[in-house]
């Protein structure tokens, strides 16, 4: 084996050796080398001493109940009334958000189209009078088409996940 200090890989290899992270074969090879190489022996000895010294610095168990109680109190203080109100519907929003948003958008567009003719004189805008009759059907039709597309997509890609937000 070539000396790890001479090849410049001393730190990584000898640290792994002292941390006992090497596989059994590498461990045995390095141990044999350390037996005949004073530089590596000194490095490994020093590193092992550091490792054992750090081992002695054991931390105490944390008072979990007290820690958690304080943490949850802080979390509760941060949760706004809006969050509390939205909490029950949040999972639904995450899963169904896109279709709901799309449907809501269509309803708003339909509403705008329905409102517009009322503010425009009939004589000046005959086309809008036509829209007045057709728009709700268009909106309904569009919603039906969206549903059909979604069904179609499910049939074509049965394994595909639900669309994410």
């Amino acid at each position: 084996m070539r000396c790890p200090i001479e090849t410049g890989e001393s730190a990584e290899l000898l640290l792994a050796y002292c941390a006992r992270k090497l596989d059994a074969d590498s461990m045995a090879i390095l141990e044999r080398h350390i037996g005949i190489c004073p530089a590596c022996r000194e490095f490994a000895g020093g590193q092992r001493a550091v490792w054992e010294a750090l081992d002695a610095w054991e931390a105490s168990p944390v008072a979990a109940a007290d820690f958690d109680r304080r943490l949850y109190r802080r979390i509760e203080q941060e949760v706004s009334w809006w969050d509390r109100m939205m909490r029950p519907v949040r999972p639904l929003l995450f899963r169904q958000g896109l279709p709901i948003a799309a449907a809501a958008g269509l309803v708003i567009v339909a509403g705008v189209l329905l409102e517009r003719p009322a503010s425009v004189p009939m004589a000046q805008a005959p086309v809008s009078a036509q829209v007045d009759i057709v728009a709700p059907e268009q909106a309904e039709h569009a919603l039906q088409e969206m549903e059909m597309m979604r069904e179609f997509n499910r049939l074509v890609h049965p394994d595909a996940a639900e669309p994410k937000m």
């Binding site: 730190a11 990584e12 640290l15 941390a19 490095f43 000895g45 020093g46 590193q47 092992r48 001493a49 550091v50 490792w51 054992e52 010294a53 750090l54 002695a56 610095w57 054991e58 931390a59 105490s60 168990p61 944390v62 979990a64 820690f67 958690d68 304080r70 943490l71 802080r74 979390i75 941060e78 909490r87 949040r90 999972p91 995450f94 994410k164």
Partner: protein, 201 residues
């Protein structure tokens, strides 16, 4: 395309890392999963922060802030890395800020005062003599001082390497640097510690 790749990587990491999976459940409003994560990582985060700042009340306060930030970030969480990488990145960031802000200025005072509020490993003899206890405390004090003298990033790298048993690649992600930079940090840190602690062998 890039977004899709990112999502795919995220789903793979979530599948491999059960902590990431739990965090995704927290994202969907499952509070119990947050409790599981807290239970699993509370001690390691507090201990890491304690060894970083060497002040028990400050460490607990910082750990509270870590988990509070985890909870606050639940809605924007993406499993782009291991959960523990993200967790320790937050913890390290807070510890380094605390040290730089001087919130931990009583550190030296506490080191001189000793005991530090965190009990240590008991000597194996069930009834150690006063002399044994004092020798053990003196050695422990020496270890704590040696770690405290390390530059902050070297200290963080050593603590993650030694106590959290993190790989170089994970430490690199936590510290936002390259793997070779981590190796260099660890080499220099252990060199300093060997010079100060090798006589303990």
């Amino acid at each position: 395309m890039a977004e899709r790749v990112k999502t795919d990587v995220g789903s793979v990491i979530a599948a491999l890392d059960c902590d990431a999976e739990l965090m995704l459940r927290v994202k969907e409003g499952d509070g119990a999963s947050f409790g599981v994560l807290l239970d699993k990582h509370r001690s390691s985060v507090v201990h890491f922060l304690y060894r970083m700042v060497q002040n028990a009340p400050v460490a607990e306060e910082l750990a509270q802030e870590v988990f509070l930030r985890v909870y606050r970030s639940r809605s924007t969480y993406q499993p782009t890395a291991k959960f523990t990488t993200w967790l320790f990145r937050i913890a390290t960031h807070l510890a380094l800020n605390s040290l730089r802000d001087g919130k931990n200025e009583r550190l030296q005072e506490r080191l001189d005062d000793d005991s530090s509020g965190m009990p240590v490993r008991q000597i194996s003899d069930s009834r150690p003599s006063v002399e044994q206890y004092m020798v053990f405390q003196a050695r422990l004090d020496e270890v704590r001082r040696a770690v405290a003298t390390l530059p902050e990033k070297q200290r963080a790298a050593v603590l993650m390497h030694k106590y959290e048993e993190m790989e170089y690649s994970q430490i690199a992600k936590v510290l936002s640097c390259s793997e070779s930079a981590v190796k260099s940090l660890l080499f220099r840190a252990y060199e300093t510690l060997r010079a100060r602690l090798a006589h303990m062998a």
